[in-house]
Symmetry: C2
Subunit: 427 residues, 2 copies
Amino acid sequence: MELQTAKGARDLPPEEKIIKNKVVSTITNVFELYGFAPLETPILERYETLEAKYGAGAGSDVLKETFTLTDQGGRRLGLRFEMTTSLGRYIAQNPSLKLPFKVYQVGNVFRDGPIKLGREREFWQCDADTIGTNSMLAEAEQIALVCDIFRKLQFKFIVKINNRKLLDGILMQAGITTKPKEALIAIDKLEKIGKEGVSQELQALGCDKKQISMVLDLLSSKYNFISLSKKINNPSWNEGRDEVQELFRYLTALKIKKFVNLDLTLVRGQGYYTGTVIEAYLKNNNITSSIAAGGRYNNMIRGLKGEDGLEVPAVGVSFGITPIMEQVKLQTKVQQRTMAKVLIVPLNTISKSLQIAQELRSNGIATDFVLGKKGISKNLEYADAVGIPYVAIIGEKELKKNKILIKEMSSGTEQLLLLKDVVKKLA
Amino acid sequence: MELQTAKGARDLPPEEKIIKNKVVSTITNVFELYGFAPLETPILERYETLEAKYGAGAGSDVLKETFTLTDQGGRRLGLRFEMTTSLGRYIAQNPSLKLPFKVYQVGNVFRDGPIKLGREREFWQCDADTIGTNSMLAEAEQIALVCDIFRKLQFKFIVKINNRKLLDGILMQAGITTKPKEALIAIDKLEKIGKEGVSQELQALGCDKKQISMVLDLLSSKYNFISLSKKINNPSWNEGRDEVQELFRYLTALKIKKFVNLDLTLVRGQGYYTGTVIEAYLKNNNITSSIAAGGRYNNMIRGLKGEDGLEVPAVGVSFGITPIMEQVKLQTKVQQRTMAKVLIVPLNTISKSLQIAQELRSNGIATDFVLGKKGISKNLEYADAVGIPYVAIIGEKELKKNKILIKEMSSGTEQLLLLKDVVKKLA
């Protein structure tokens, strides 16, 4: 039998998992620095919960790509497509939570869709969400943590932002009032299918030629935010304009304005965004997919509770672990296959060597220990192959003088050191 | 619509997830101190892979509790029941790996079985495995890391060990040579169903009365290891005896012998163990399920490769996150709902306060920031409710003197401090 991974699922060997751990801990450490608390929701969700969010309109594409299964009790289940639905369910089920609730999640999500490079059926997401406030400070804080994370990873990046209210204002200005959600989904494809394609989709939605050409004109690069604000005047645009201006005041105070660009063509596919949307990209890079994305979704949790629920304002951002890992890999010079700092090679000194290993470990030094009966040269080869930087050779003669031979693998230099000096050197 | 989690799946709110993160990082830090490298295998596995391991004999119970699903391409998949199968597949698929391969995994596993307290359908495992060596040092090292982890968690615990070769030797001595695997599975139930029940099961396997009474006699508490070694003399027993004695020499050198008990009635259900088995328990505790368990499984990976594969010796240990978390909860005096150390309350000083927040964060101080327009008392209530230890009130007057009012929530004491002194106090 030929063994294989499931299609779209893959193993991460140590050299990749070490990078992933570094990426995830960088992200979650910053989440915690910004006061976000960890939450865990399950991978298995009742299919009804997923349907409640995705059942209608554009969301049904999501349901099509949701892995479904049935438990032994005949209950229909799904593997979560992303983590926001589970968060929404958690919030809806816990009405006594103290708000604002700032929370983060890390975990696997699953999509039974087509596979291509960088697009898998099982992958991780890292999300931070702020629930229960309409303050633009929530957006500002999330954009700040995006910038902090990518600066810590030494990325060159740009954060694009937009506001759905501005887009709605543009549609309103053009007189497109029926199916605005669907119209935005068409506009979102501008870069992908061009003006022609978008025109056709808008036409199919019932927009007339004048409306379509006006929308495309307003979205073209000949206007900037200020000139558009002179051309457009309706409640939605004005509200969006005020929000964006408030947000930029905070971004200036946070000294991150230079990383952020307002981009009026940015829509983001998900139907549930209601205000700010953000997407972060690497600058001048072959990795063109977004490395973080999110926005404000004030209606989603109400939607899960049913129509009589109260509005629960929410802002979230999600990090794309796969493209971030790709970039970190490119920046990493030395490939690590182990976290061990030293390999202990006992030469007829197993008992004493085991004690020395424990001494090093109790000083926080990651220590590997030769388990076989191979000779020194084989063990040096092993240390070299897996990338352990030091080898400690513990022989009987040296032990009598309380000394250990330390070999630095990169330079080949050897030192005969007392145990306490080995601790100092490696700690 | 009433929202619910899937049966057997549950949310971990921040106060529990913070404990889980602490448990998992304690475990994985020790794994790395012992030179184990991280590996990630997917949750989705091809059903054929799971069948290859579990298809025959006792394992088919496992297949019954495996969640199965089908992708859009019609391929049959399963959610992993535990992580050892995926590890075995990975090893079998990567024949050029440098051995010994010391590796750890953390992740979700799924079981579509009956639910009871502490038994869920979706839960986490943390495994460490040593692949490619027959040395008893592999067992010794894993028992040492078990002890280190539980000492770091301040548990009172005991590690029970046994060796399948000793059990095989006992069966051989009693003349039970057909279906020894099934006989062991019956013996494993000794504590649960008593001598009577085990007798019946052995009888059903075709053992005669004399054989049954001899096995039960040899397993009774009237003999210890030394007296049994005088009564039993066959290759399997003798090999097991030598292994156990070698293991205890290492445990003595590692200074952990006092935590380890040889228990000849310990079987562990899984059919794939071939030598040492271990199980760790809390001492004098209401939590009676094992908190870590594992053993040597030299045939499993060969089994996955088909009958013509070479033997790949392996030893593994798996930690039970749920009972470990329960115990840590009992030991934890102050419940944390956030990792934030300070909440900033700006009083008409938003811009400057945002800058101060960034300054604290850049010094590694987890900082929350008031997002609404509520007054001081509401914010103090919030800090109290989520357990943020300090509140920083930033008013215009104080800012002019470059000072911040810091309130310690536990004592209620207030101090007016310069920013640099706030950093010193909270860092």
